[in-house]
């Protein structure tokens, strides 16, 4: 099933439930949350709401009126098929249930903290107990605690991409240096460079603040296509396109993408992935602007392209790649 169709089905379910007499405040709040997760959800819901409302015209046909000569309800047949459908529905719901379930281990016991790490230049995807997935980038250390009451992740070093399963009752909280990132269910990345924390969002909404110990501190909520960079007590938000934010996550495919970056920044980025470091020897080379997509682990190819395209001097020895104008 495609994402779009899945979303349309969810939107239709929300819509029909919102029309029922037992529709509650609580459900209404959850619908609001679902809508706020993504403009894709809003588009699907608003569209169906609009179209379905047009069908209200049918009410003038009145109770008992024959709508159509084609109408041939065959209830015996319908009932038989309905049983088959219910059974099929139960089967179909089983995996969903396990993903959505708040406690998949059955008991309410405290799950132990899990630890994860990646070596320089490697990546790893880990699955958490709630069905969420975390992709660790190069040289990253993280810890997770997921049980029936809490979902927490400590990003001690490096960078990770989070694909978090929605659960309004258990917000997913990430501690990264001075910042706390809180989500209900979204897709985004968090990166630490010392005290600087960068958050990129490709789906849903994410709250970035200083955590429970500083409730009065600055709190920022960002959405799809936004990047927040936090350093000290300041947080800067840049609204970019989804494409730009996705580009910042090209490491997930083992690639680095630069758009008008200085060679100094590009070199620093490559150095996160490789033991053999790039050294820029003079200011003129450091300020050269470059763009393109490169394999993160292939310093040699990058150096070769630099020499050919920009005419810089490249000196390769076993420990380092030295670049000068």
């Amino acid at each position: 099933m495609s994402d779009a169709r899945h979303i349309e089905e969810q939107a239709a379910q929300w819509l029909l439930r919102s029309e029922q007499p037992d529709w509650s405040e609580d459900q209404s709040a959850r619908l609001r949350e679902w809508l706020d997760q993504s403009y894709s959800h809003k588009a699907a819901f608003w569209r169906l709401e609009h179209g379905w409302k047009k069908a209200d015209r049918l009410a003038v046909l009145g109770s008992g009126a024959s709508v159509s000569a084609q109408r041939t309800p065959t209830f015996a047949n319908w009932r038989r098929l309905a049983i088959a459908a219910s059974v099929a529905l139960m089967i179909a719901l089983v995996p969903t249930y396990f993903i959505a379930s708040r406690d998949i281990s059955g008991g309410g016991q405290q799950a132990a903290e899990q630890q994860f790490s990646t070596a320089l230049g490697s990546r790893k995807t880990v699955a958490l107990a709630d069905g969420s997935k975390v992709e660790l980038n190069t040289a990253t250390i993280g810890r997770a605690l997921v049980n029936d009451r809490r979902r927490e992740f400590w990003l001690d070093r490096g960078e990770a991409y989070f694909d978090i399963v929605h659960d309004a009752a258990r917000p997913f909280v990430i501690y990264a240096g001075t910042r706390t990132v809180t989500v209900l269910g979204t897709k985004f990345s968090v990166r630490r460079d010392g005290d600087r924390v960068t958050v990129n969002v490709i789906q849903g909404r994410v709250k970035v603040d200083l955590g429970p110990s500083r409730p009065d501190g600055p709190s920022t909520t960002i959405g799809v296509g936004d990047t927040a960079v936090a350093d000290g007590d300041s947080t800067i938000v840049a609204s970019r396109s989804l494409e730009q934010v996705e580009r910042a996550m090209s490491w997930r495919q083992g690639m680095l993408t630069f758009d008008n970056a200085t060679l100094a920044d590009a070199a620093a980025e490559f150095n996160r992935y490789n033991a053999r470091k790039i050294e820029i020897l003079d200011e003129q080379a450091a300020q050269t602007r470059i763009g393109g997509t490169f394999e993160a682990n292939n310093v040699d190819a990058f150096a070769r392209l630099l020499r050919e395209a920009y005419g810089v001097k490249v000196e390769v020895d076993p420990g380092a790649v030295k670049i000068s104008a």
């Binding site: 779009a4 029909l16 379905w52 309905a82």
Partner: protein, 192 residues
């Protein structure tokens, strides 16, 4: 920022009224017909994301610019495209008929359209939609009336909402049934 109420109203008013044109545009420029509904949904998402800061002044131009860019990006990403196709898409988006909205329709036209949409639904789905829209029954009442489970009613009604919407917005009213449930039901002898 545009608030949700204004954004939603603009979306229904300025964008959804062009859905028939948008679907023609997608079908003309995309060879895989099975993907048109997905593309439409992706384009709508981008339309809303782009309009949330400020509503575009010319919704028609804006919609088709977003649509064109999205098709080009998708084609490039899928690496299935020649630059001829990209050029074609660019040229087509300048075509004048694309910006037209559906003409204003009267209440009588709307009823006729809704009724035609209802007639196109598979029998069981049609009955559930009729009970909801004509008799105003809740899903629980519908389930009791028909002697089936609420899940089943919801399933049919979900389908009905999607198909009716597609039809009243100028589509064919035919909805792809995608879930394991739908396939299993069909396999059990459902003649829909």
């Amino acid at each position: 920022m545009v608030d949700d109420e204004a954004l939603g109203a603009w979306f229904c008013d300025a964008i959804l009224t062009r859905e028939a044109s948008l679907m023609r545009f997608i079908r003309r420029n995309w060879r895989d017909a099975a993907e048109t509904a997905d593309l439409r949904q992706e384009i709508y998402e981008k339309v809303l994301t782009g309009a949330r800061r400020e509503l575009p002044r010319n919704a028609g131009h804006y919609l088709f610019a977003v649509a064109r860019n999205h098709l080009i990006n998708r084609a490039k990403r899928a690496q299935i495209v020649s630059f001829d196709l990209v050029a074609d898409i660019s040229a087509l988006a300048d075509g004048s008929d694309l910006y037209s909205t559906e003409r204003q329709v009267s209440a009588r036209d709307e009823l006729r359209r809704a009724q035609a949409g209802l007639d196109l639904l598979p029998p069981r789905c049609r009955e559930v939609v009729r009970l909801r829209k004509v008799e105003g029954l809740s899903t629980r009442e519908t389930a009791e009336r028909l002697g089936v489970g609420i899940d089943t009613v919801e399933k049919q009604l979900t389908l009905g909402i999607r198909a009716m919407t597609d039809f009243v917005l100028g589509g064919t009213g035919k909805i792809h049934r995608w879930s394991a449930t739908a396939r299993a039901t069909a396999g059990a002898g459902n003649d829909e």
